[in-house]
Amino acid sequence: MPALLEVQDALRRQFLEGENPDVISFIEGGALSPHARLNIYHNTFVGTLTTALRLNFPAVYALVGSGYFEYVASAFIKRSPPTSAYLNDYGRDFPAFLESEETARGVPYLPDMARLEWAVSQAFHAPDADSLDLQRLASVAQEDQEHVVFALQPNVGLVASRYPIDVIWQAVLAKDDEAMAGIDLESGGVKLRVERRHDQVEVTRCGLDEWRFASGLVGKRCFGELASDLNPETATALLSDYLVRGRITAFTLAQHQYSERLP
């Protein structure tokens, strides 16, 4: 009698690697063959995960159509099946997969569109985190202020592309063919802040200063580094704006690491 783990692992291989004689031998046939019975479960496996990807990447789905999406989703599922039942978090590697997929090259901005949609999905599903209590910041000694590392809200993300993906995204989701037809792919790249506010996700173009500032926060760079990269006035103004808008949740002091990186 096969052990439970042996049976379960055989089914996993059947789903991900194709026909597996081991698992066929574990299953009663009858009027329907074991293969046909397993197919019912396999179809649900692929169908459920394709739906999860479609929900996380609706504009990618709309751009390529259901036939191609099902093809590419099926290939992705085989290569990168989910590791958790939390399917809102399924598809992190889908943009990179699209980038490597020969057949997707016809839509050059597709991987970046997927990156934008992943950031939108992550922002939408991010846990609610309290904004930083400014009283705590006031307690930081003057000499420590340049060593402060701020944490960005989990519902804020950044995406850059050499294509105007924000405009394409809006036109695709609005099914606005006229707007789509008017988009010039060579009109220049975009740097985007993706943020959930009041249960809605907003996608906003950033200026270069904000992009460098926010990227620095994501990279856990301390405020002193941000101030020397931009300039102290700009960094302070951006920090004030981020604090007021509740985009900062916490801070730590990184004196040692910062000192080591100083020229």
């Binding site: 089914l11 074991p34 459920t48 099946p81 609610d128 249960d199």
Partner: protein, 243 residues
């Protein structure tokens, strides 16, 4: 996003129904997912919490379906271990739902109704009796659905599910019923539901219709049909009406 659930919770009792804990996995439960479920249940304080007699994960891969277990002593020990762990993390009893199934393992040794009753007896969990699943599995495997109902312990059934299913023909001649939650409850399932109510008494009932979702009035009419049958059983038991 959970704010919506908090708002609903203020006015209505909740029944939280899980599909992702994979209680039948030979591997340990996914600790991250378990923590997520525990946090949600602590936050929302549902009246009922349920999961499935099935498995979905192995070797760190989630297979996104409620897969059937071989019904063996080993699988019984495994699922009891996992139900114990879940109930201990939640500090409460759960209900375990019978699955619909399309295959059986040749090395199974325990009938499903005995297996489910044994999990309940060993772990103290209750049973979520999915009447549609009993019908679907009975038709697919040649069981007697009334025998299945009769074998479940009356005092352990805490919730009933009803749903629609599809009759599919495979290879041009073989019929199989698929539990797809995409249509009205079948007449045979309504009839089985009446048997279930006679046996278990007036029991909280949910109609699952989550694919091909119809207009709200169609769904409400389906719920009213169940409500009427519940009221009848409740009155017969000497009560004025279902609260």
């Amino acid at each position: 996003m959970l704010g919506y659930l908090d708002t609903i919770r203020r006015d209505y009792p909740l029944s939280l129904h899980g599909v992702g804990l994979s209680l039948g996995s030979a591997d340990d439960l996914d600790a991250t997912h378990l923590a997520r479920v525990v946090a949600l249940i602590k936050r929302t304080g549902p009246v009922l919490v349920s999961e499935h007699l099935s498995w979905s994960a192995v070797g760190g891969v989630y297979l996104a379906d409620l897969l059937p277990l071989p019904l063996t002593e080993e699988a019984l020990s495994v699922i009891c271990r996992n139900v114990d762990r879940l109930q201990s993390a939640l500090q409460r009893e759960i209900l375990l739902e019978n699955p619909s199934s399309y295959l059986r393992y040749s090395h199974s040794t325990i009938p499903e109704w005995e297996f489910l009753s044994a999990v309940s007896r060993r772990t103290g969990c209750g049973i979520l009796c999915d009447v549609n699943n009993i019908f679907v599995s009975s038709m697919n495997h040649g069981w007697n659905a009334l025998d299945y109902l009769s074998a479940l312990p009356v005092d352990r059934v805490g919730e009933i599910h009803l749903a629609g299913h599809t009759l599919r023909v495979v290879d041009g001649e073989h019929e199989i019923r698929i539990d797809d939650h995409g249509s009205a409850v079948a007449p045979e399932v309504w009839s089985l539901y009446e048997h279930a109510l006679q046996r278990f008494g007036a029991t909280p009932t949910l109609i699952e219709w989550d694919t091909n979702v119809p207009a709200l009035d169609v769904l409400m009419a389906e719920a009213a049909k169940a409500e009427k049958k519940l009221q009848r059983v409740w009155r017969r038991a000497g009560h004025a009406s279902v609260a």
